[in-house]
Symmetry: C2
Subunit: 344 residues, 2 copies
């Protein structure tokens, strides 16, 4: 049940024309653009068959054809020729990112902005995952009033900081040795289960610290749970409203409402098995609000550890040829820059 060469060509032309114009494409246009050198009538036969096979849809009789989700899927998997990025664009991107590589938060936000601008879609970026980092240093800064700031720095430039209450018997002078103790015990561990285990060991060894360690553990757990430190950044929501598929405000509203729930966005970006860029098309999404939409997502890493995710969301009628390589490029650039910054 494979598609023969001509059908593939027809499907490709239809997808690309529809992506460009947002209007159903008819047999005549396909005949003109496909360079197949056959008449519209022949194309019509092919289109009829493609529709029967589920790759095309007709909004109504006597309108042209529109790709179905299955059609887009086939296009993305088999037909699309990725459009290489312009060298100037590559340079601009690299320069912009390199400038902010120091602070992860800003980097992630900037990335979202750049992606959105370049693709005219909505961009989503979730930053390096805490779990993927290792604690490099622990500091306790006195704040007075029996409080101190517990700062943990991880190797990806993450800073976890929380105000903790000091046990009543505590003297500020004790902070420095305590700092060293914590650094020794927690350094090198990932701020997930590893650190928790280390905290427990320490708890048994020095029971006096119990109140402090308990707080540290609770606060860490809070950072790690969805919606904690790993913030999600969106950019370019206004881009979507420019697309004709969102002329119906209620659709746009449902989509925005969904995207405001950070938990759902995180779910949307959940890592798949694959290595490269993943495309999720229309009905493949579990949420109804996303049914006319596609998501193109990629991962970046820090050294050999998982970093975060970058993604672009737009109507299924999206310029995949441009978007897919762009997302891939941004993900790879981030990996490279972050890995070098960590210096491992």
């Amino acid at each position: 049940m494979e598609l023969d060469l001509r059908k593939r060509r027809v499907l490709r032309v239809i997808v690309e024309e529809f992506v460009a114009t947002a209007e159903p494409v008819g047999s005549r246009r396909v005949a003109e653009r496909s360079a197949l050198d056959v008449s519209p009538a022949t194309i019509r036969n092919e289109m009829g068959e493609l529709e029967a096979m589920g790759y095309l849809e007709q909004p109504h009789t006597s309108a042209g054809r529109v790709p179905s989700d299955k059609g887009y899927r086939f296009y993305v998997d088999e037909l699309m020729e990725a459009e290489p990025l312009a060298p100037a664009e590559v340079r601009r991107l690299r320069r912009a990112l390199a400038e902010r590589i120091r602070e992860v938060q800003g980097l992630v936000q900037l990335t979202a902005r750049l992606l959105a601008d370049a693709t005219a879609c909505l961009a989503m970026v979730v930053g390096p995952q805490l779990e993927a980092t290792r604690i490099r240093a622990v500091r306790l800064a006195p704040l007075g009033l029996r409080r101190a700031l517990l700062v943990m720095v991880t190797d990806a430039g993450f800073v976890i900081s929380h105000v903790v209450e000091l046990p009543p018997a505590f003297d500020e002078a004790e902070l420095e040795p305590l700092e060293r103790l914590l650094s020794r015990h927690l350094g090198g561990h990932a701020p997930g289960g590893d650190v928790r285990r280390a905290l427990r060991v320490l708890d048994r060894e020095v029971p006096r610290l119990h109140p402090l360690l308990e707080q540290a553990e609770a606060l860490l757990a809070q950072d790690l749970e969805p919606g904690g430190e790993e913030r999600v950044y969106l950019g370019g929501a206004a881009n979507l409203l420019g697309q004709p598929e969102f002329r119906d405000v209620q659709r746009a509203r449902a989509l925005l409402a969904l995207l405001e729930q950070e938990r759902l966005v995180r779910e949307l970006l959940a890592r798949r098995e694959s290595a490269g860029v993943e495309v999720t098309i229309g009905q493949e999404h579990p949420h109804e609000a996303l049914h006319g939409c596609s998501v193109v997502a990629g991962s970046f890493s820090i050294g050999d550890r998982a970093g975060g995710r970058v993604a672009v969301l737009g109507p299924t009628r999206m310029p995949y040829r441009r978007v897919v390589p762009f997302v891939k490029h941004v993900a790879d650039s981030l990996s490279e820059l972050l890995t070098r910054a960590v210096g491992s």
Copy 2:
């Protein structure tokens, strides 16, 4: 040229009816709802005069009247009776905020969410302003590879942290004395001009530190410039799309595009002289995209210093009676909680 009692009553009814229904209100409805006990014809005369005076507008002949911006302004300033918050709502709010008072970022974000949900508008919150805080402690955590994390903690729970490159001749053992030196010199200063001055003094005293101090100054400047650390949080954009005034997508698009520019949002929230809650209505906004919209904004403070701003944005047809006291309450609650947290 004051409005007599009956005109005030008529205007008030029209504003409130229009706010509730989003449809132009006619003389009959005003007669029914105003309890003035006069006929629609009389009301019509009043409405005609109110229109001539600029308080009302007519979308077209033979439609009811709609308040003009001037009409809303008069309503907000003179006619509106603030609707007290339900005690249950007050309690819920207080509990939710108190839970997150520890970390400023989360608190600000939560506030935006709560405001948006309660008012069915878009909420904007800009966090405590760095300039308004005082540095409480400075820490330098070694990161290896000639780098260290410079952490400055301010009294409002702000944490400013940056990776800095250490001068080549530096030994990690020197960090601790340096830390103490910095703490002594910078502690108590506001991270604006004050700290910069202190840095310069230190620079003269210990020229060896120059490369480090230079970095610190540059990074601080970066944090302080708009778009630095004082992040703006938005919540409830989807709420706006539900309003009938945004049935025209292009309008919504223009608005969203404006709100994506953090600089403009910050401008929008810029402090006015007044003490309480400020309402900016329609054409009073400099940006055209905001012409059908109103903003209700209030300030919160930390101790006796400026804190940040909370605001709500919606169509000019907004339930001011509810929104104004709500914004005021949220601002006051934040002030109270943050002031107590700082413990000054």
